[in-house]
Symmetry: C2
Subunit: 210 residues, 2 copies
DNA sequence: GTCGTAATTGACGAAGCTATCAGTATTCCG
DNA sequence: CGGAATACTGATAGCTTCGTCAATTACGAC
């Protein structure tokens, strides 16, 4: 997910410019998480970023443009997190469980990220677009390994994504019991056709390098 | 879900008033379905309803007020549809499958309703609030009958609702195969712990009084 | 037919938001 | 050091939206 990051020999001017841009994106991110895209005003973004109003238009053409930047940032951040958490695993079912647990744990630890995910999903399909490819890969590994019993792959991914998003919302709203990540992971595996007992066992395995 | 509807002896004046109100709600419903709550302007609603701008404030205090009316209408409409479709059934698993199929089929037949559901869910929790009680009742029947294997009821309902909403969105976006309602119903039953074969069988049963 | 009541209407003032732009401050480079 | 380049700034013009209100219209009672 991460690019090789070719960089560094930048003048002070360039650095300040990027810094301003980063402040704007961070401010937009936090405000969108709190209020949703539509409710956020551009002057709120510049105030939060502690930057002159006019600066906004030095970096972005419109609100849509900065939203796109936020979406991209969130997508790559989550993608990296999933990669890091699952790269050491062999069992396809465990990969799926850990991927879901990662998302939910991160949303719980960083509600701003969680709300962003929820609030951006409707308008920008973040889950399908950004996470879909990972999910599809993991799904097919599980099918190939004979662990999942799946009839319609696309429909399964949709249900999986919807259930995940529901779980994230529930966590953010505090409507959950203990360790919602494990609970949800077990449900996801059950959805994929694992027997209840096996789903529980896989979902409960300790996270790698935790 | 439906109230006994005590009514009829109304003068023409009352009827016209209710008619205006109904036109406003219908217009709001269609516009919200198309653009989401935030994007809808009050003058758009009155234009669509073919009513003077000022009339809006004879019936509703604010946009929030009319949105609440729309939410209530949608909730009772769906509730009635589910009741009608499942009241003749004995098998708890079949009840759950038919309930989900009903929602998806209705969303497919009436995209306005589907989009409303999706667009209102974020801001108003329609699925949890309006459909949750039905789902909980059916879930507990299935558990009592020993057909579902459920660990955490609340988490299961959340996953079920999220998956349903995802399926509705997919249908509206055309990203589906044949008979998405049956496909999704089978997934829902699998999520509830039914073995894959059994889930398929129950999901495929013909709808009652179809 | 006349009058009182209540709903409807659209124009208007107030408030908010966007995008621009002319001016200022900072950095780069010869 | 000095001039060019570039990012930053906030006031402002123009537009959109909201909620109110005085005038108008439709209804129903007598």
């Amino acid at each position: 997910m991460s690019t090789p990051t070719d960089e560094q020999p930048l003048g002070r001017r360039e650095r300040r410019k990027l810094e301003t841009r980063a402040k704007l994106v961070a401010a937009a991110r936090s405000l969108i998480a709190g209020q949703g895209v539509d409710a956020v005003r551009i002057n709120e973004i510049t105030d939060e970023a502690d930057v002159g109003f006019g600066s906004f238009y030095n970096h972005f053409e419109s609100k849509e443009a900065i939203v796109a930047a936020v979406v991209e940032a969130v997508a790559s951040e989550l993608g990296d997190a999933i990669d890091a958490a699952t790269s050491d695993l062999d069992d396809a079912a465990e990969v799926m469980a850990v991927a879901h647990r990662t998302i939910i744990d991160r949303a719980a630890a960083e509600p701003t990220l969680g709300w962003l995910l929820v609030r951006l999903e409707l308008s920008h399909d973040v889950v399908s677009t950004a996470l879909g490819p990972y999910a599809l890969r993991d799904l097919q590994r599980g099918i190939a390994a004979g662990r999942f019993h799946v009839d319609d792959q696309a429909a399964t991914l949709i249900a999986l994504g919807g259930a995940l998003l529901g779980a994230v919302r529930a966590v953010l709203l505090g409507r959950v019991g203990d360790d919602p990540a494990i609970t949800h992971a077990a449900l996801a595996l059950q959805l994929l056709g694992l027997p209840a007992g096996e789903a529980q066992e896989v979902a409960r395995r300790p996270l790698p390098r935790g």
